[in-house]
Amino acid sequence: MGPSGSGKSTLLHTLAGLDTLTEGSVYIGETELGSLKDRDLTILRREEVGFIFQTFNLIPTLNAQENILLPLSIAGVKPDQEWYGKVVDAVGLSDRLDHRPSELSGGQQQRVAAARALVSKPAIVFADEPSGNLDSVASGELLDFMRTAVREFDQTIVMVTHDPIAASYSDRIIFLDDGDIVDEMTDPTPDSILEQMKHLGA
């Protein structure tokens, strides 16, 4: 968490291999990202990283199922049907799989994106303000699913947000300001986060 301009998104992008570092290094598993060529980095993103963006998460010409399976189809890999079924059930979209993004609500679109992030069993999922554009109900559904993914599927998720309620779904919060880590919190609640933020702001 952190205020606008604190470097949250930049950190996320460099961690995820979308942006390159000017100094320092990033490891995903055993792999150091800085040494990778574009092609290897792309393949690493496809196999080891899942993404949920704030908006425009889905390819408009593909239906929900195709969007969920996108990283696997790009790789030309057959999906693990059992795992796919589990994810789709958990995300609660079994009956909307043949719908195009334009036929889904914002919340449903974000949940499709979340399912896509999980389907390739990545080492880590990065979520950049995933609920930023959603109302509280849809936001709750999405965050519940993300929490389920962590609890039941042992999925690591790194999320950037400035919403204390969204942040309260996490196990551990790192506070950023001006590009520096300024604080850290485990087992947060909305109230404790708000308290902490007031403190930081002052």
Binding site: L18, T42, F53, Q54, E66, S73
Partner: protein, 849 residues
């Protein structure tokens, strides 16, 4: 608003410059056509002006009513003694008679020089050099003084390594003869008179060679000082009589200029036709580009509306952008056109059609027309997108979702498109199958409307066609293939109008291919049907036929049996200028099979009448036994009896006897000589004998049936290659259109491509996705083009069935190759956009606003 428009142009430099290319090409063709013809007439004007300074008036035979003496080697003449009355006319300082006729130089390799373009002429050498445009520079010899001497033009001499002192053969209408080359002639600064090859002899020699003993082709007259050419001409008119005409040198020059520009007219028409095609194809691309740009700038335009710009102002802004693009493209186009004209001149020189030297002529008219064409086409094409821009609601500035125009139903489009197609086809058919005035315009405009109609309907087909054409893609390339296919279906209007631009070029190429194949197949069947003989002989010289001396020599060969000839010329039949054919009715049936009514040739021989094509008879309501009036170039002619009907179209509309022809025409050469081997003589022996005679006549070609067909086909192939080559330009413009559409689409899909890259699509897959989208669009255009082209070809071939185009042939191989090439063109079109897409910065692509 103006400032916003200018900024808009700069912000869209790349896409607009691709668009402008189409305009540049179109305007360049328009400008080239004008610059080229203006330059040539200006140069000839200067040349003729300086070259005829010594002559004030020409006295010459009254022109034949058929006009056009150039084409059919008709040289009129007047009696030699006309000069006596000219010389005694007041105001005449000098007068000298001369003759002109056919003469073709043979080079050291034994080949006839020229003859496939500019005329090959022979002249008498004037005694008074002030009356001739011809000069001999120092060191280039002298004029002919006795029989057996010749002077030739410097261009022919240089091009064939001929120099003074050489003995050269010159072909005339008689037997080939050898002459001593005594001089090499120039024309002022120029080595050649528009590429014509010239051979000049003493007057007596020239009169003998051209069969004009005791006659002159013209008398050149110079006036005493103080007498104007007009006064002199008037004086001579009163003192001379007979079938003559007196013209001033200026009038004669003007006539020659007119004849030259008429001769170049076909080139002008061809250039303007290609300009029209380029501009038409360009219009699609411009319209498409502006539509996409307007769609992409929805937010920006809506913001303008939100801060108070009226819809009309937004429209104006887009129109002004179009004006700026059109202006810049037109200026460049005119520049390119000038270069094109220079290139064209160089190409003509390379083909031996030498143009006089001189400056390039760029008239204000050329600039005005070129600019007008470029500006009007650009603005008209941008008009619809500009109107659309005005309908963007201000609220779109806040929320793009709200701004999406509701998908208008394609039903309206289907109806409008069908009606347009119907109108186009109707106009085409009226132009082709009825004898309406200006039929060619009906055909041209009909084809244009037809193209438009097809392009209006095309979006309806885009989805299904992409489904079919793109079917293998997901199976071959997985998700990249699937996305490529999906993207083509996404905006059917855009896909369709991009493909439509390609359709036009492909349709025209297919049309030309079908037309050419049909002519070729008709030729081979008509040759097979009408020429049962063993050998056919023709002249390689476009302007003159086979020497009658050659024909006599062939006739006297013991290895050769029946020989008969065909002569042709222009005559005025019942008031209209027509080509007529002359045969010897006694022998013609032994070497050809012309389909005629029973007993027609016997009756023709008996009456010395005329045979008329059945359809011409019906059209005019004539019947056998009627008399019609035919006027010949050298004879006023008169009523002549219709002796029978011709029932096949291969020999023209009118056939007369060669005895009538001898009276009516001065040209004694044979257009075709047909010969059979004598009974019991092997074909090879007969061939050897006839080839032996032909060896002395380098301007004749002896052919058997299959050589004749192959030769005709080769000539058609040459034309096809030329036309197809130029039409490929239209295809190149359309391919740039695909590049443009894709480049614009990629800008629209930046975030989508960024997302794909983020979730793991490698660059190669991105390129593949764009490439196959381009291939589908290209194939879509090619498939439509093949359909439209086949229809056009079929309609035109059917319409010309009466003119001897009997069979409709489809060159399947060529069409398949063309479609494959279109696919390759798609790959090429995608090179830039796919590279661009694969290099998109992922962060920029996924960044939020």
């Amino acid at each position: 608003m103006l400032r916003a428009a200018i900024k808009g142009v700069f912000a869209n430099k790349m896409r607009l410059s691709l668009t402008a290319f189409a305009i540049v090409i179109g305007v360049a063709f328009v400008a080239a056509s004008f610059v080229f013809t203006d330059t040539i007439s200006a140069r000839f004007d200067a040349l003729l002006d300086t070259s005829a300074t010594g002559v004030d008036v020409y006295v010459r035979p009254a022109p034949p009513e058929t006009g056009d003496t150039f084409q059919n080697a008709e040289f009129g003449s007047i009696p030699e003694d006309t000069i006596d009355s000219v010389l005694t006319t007041p105001g005449v300082r000098i007068a000298e008679g001369g003759v002109v006729g056919f003469a073709q130089i043979v080079n050291k390799e034994g080949e006839a020089v020229g003859g496939q373009g500019p005329p090959t002429l022979g002249y008498s050498w004037s005694i008074d050099r002030s009356l001739s445009p011809v000069t001999i520079r120092d060191g280039n010899g002298r004029g002919p003084e006795i029989a057996g001497e010749v002077v030739i033009d410097a261009n022919s001499a240089n091009g064939n390594n001929l120099s003074v002192g050489d003995t050269i053969t010159v072909l005339t209408i008689g037997a080939p003869e050898e002459f001593l080359l005594v001089g090499i002639a120039s024309f002022g600064e120029s080595d050649s008179l528009a590429g014509a090859t010239l051979a000049m002899f003493t007057l007596d020699e020239a009169q003998r060679l051209f069969g004009l003993e005791g006659r002159f082709s013209a008398i050149s007259v110079a006036a005493e000082s103080g007498v104007t050419p007009e006064e002199l001409a008037a004086n001579i008119s009163t003192t001379t009589n007979g079938d003559i005409e007196v013209v001033t040198a200026e009038e004669s020059n003007d006539e020659q200029l007119e004849a030259i520009s008429e001769g170049l007219g076909f080139l002008n028409i061809a250039l303007l036709a290609f300009a029209a095609v380029a501009v038409f194809v360009g219009a699609f691309i411009i319209s498409n580009t502006f539509r996409i740009i307007v769609a992409q700038r929805t937010k920006e335009l809506a913001l303008l509306r939100a801060i108070g710009a009226t819809g009309r102002q937004v429209t104006w802004m887009v129109v002004i952008e179009a004006l700026i693009v059109g202006f810049v493209a037109s200026v460049i186009g005119i520049g390119v056109g000038v270069l094109l004209a220079i290139g064209l001149g160089a190409a003509m020189n390379a083909f031996g059609l030498n143009m006089p030297e001189g400056p390039l002529t760029l008239l204000p008219r050329t600039v005005i027309v070129g600019m007008a064409v470029g500006l009007i086409v650009t603005v008209v094409s941008a008009l619809l997108p500009a109107r659309k821009a005005a309908r963007i609601p201000p609220v779109a500035a806040m929320n793009e979702e709200l701004a999406r125009p509701k998908r208008r139903s394609l039903h309206v489009r289907a109806v409008v498109g069908s009606i347009t197609v119907g109108l186009g086809i109707a106009a085409l058919l009226v132009g082709l199958f009825t004898s309406v005035n200006g039929g060619i315009w009906f055909v041209a405009i009909g084809a244009l409307v037809f193209f438009l109609g097809v392009s209006i309907i095309a979006p309806l087909a885009a989805g299904p066609v992409a489904t079919v054409l793109g079917w293998p893609l997901p199976r071959m390339f997985g998700v990249a293939g699937q996305l490529a296919q999906d993207n083509t279906r996404r905006q059917p209007r855009r896909t369709a109008s991009t493909a439509s631009a390609l359709m036009i070029g492909v349709a025209l190429v297919v049309f030309v291919a079908v037309f050419g194949a049909s002519i070729k197949s008709s030729i081979s069947s008509s040759v097979t049907d009408t020429f049962p003989g063993d050998f056919s002989v023709q002249s390689t010289n476009f302007a003159v036929g086979v020497s009658p001396t050659f024909t006599e020599e062939v006739r006297s060969l013991s290895e050769i049996g029946n020989v008969s000839t065909l002569k042709i010329g222009s005559a005025v039949v019942e008031g209209s200028n027509t080509t007529i054919v002359a045969v010897d009715p006694e022998t013609i049936t032994t070497v050809t099979s012309i389909d005629v009514s029973a007993g027609a040739f016997e009756s023709l021989a008996e009456t010395d009448g005329v045979l008329v094509l059945e359809s011409v008879m019906n059209e005019n309501g004539w019947s056998v036994g009627d008399s019609i009036v035919i006027v010949y170039p050298q004879d006023p002619g008169g009523p002549i009896e219709i002796a029978g009907t011709i029932t096949s179209t291969n020999f023209g509309d009118f056939i007369i006897t060669q005895s009538s022809y001898a009276v009516g025409f001065s040209n004694s050469t044979d257009y075709y000589v047909f010969a059979n081997s004598a009974d019991g003589v092997a074909i090879v022996d007969a061939r050897a004998a006839i080839d032996g005679v032909a060896a002395d006549y380098p301007n004749v070609k002896v052919q058997n049936k299959s050589e004749l067909i192959a030769d005709a086909e080769a000539q058609i192939d040459q034309m096809l290659v030329l036309f197809t080559g130029l039409l490929f330009l239209a295809i190149i413009i359309a391919v740039l259109g695909i590049t443009n559409t894709l480049a614009l689409a990629i800008i629209e899909r930046t975030r989508e491509i960024g997302l794909l890259r983020a979730v793991g699509m490698v660059q190669r897959q991105v390129r593949r996705m764009i490439r196959w989208e381009a291939v589908i669009i290209a194939l879509f255009g090619a498939v439509m083009g093949v359909g439209v082209g086949l229809f056009l070809g079929w309609a035109v071939v059917r319409a010309l069935a009466d003119e001897g185009l009997g069979s409709f042939a489809v060159p399947m191989g060529q069409i398949v190759i063309l479609v494959l090439l279109a696919g390759v063109a798609g790959v090429i079109a995608a090179i830039y956009p796919s590279w661009k897409a694969s290099r998109l910065n992922i962060l920029d692509a996924i960044a939020y606003e």
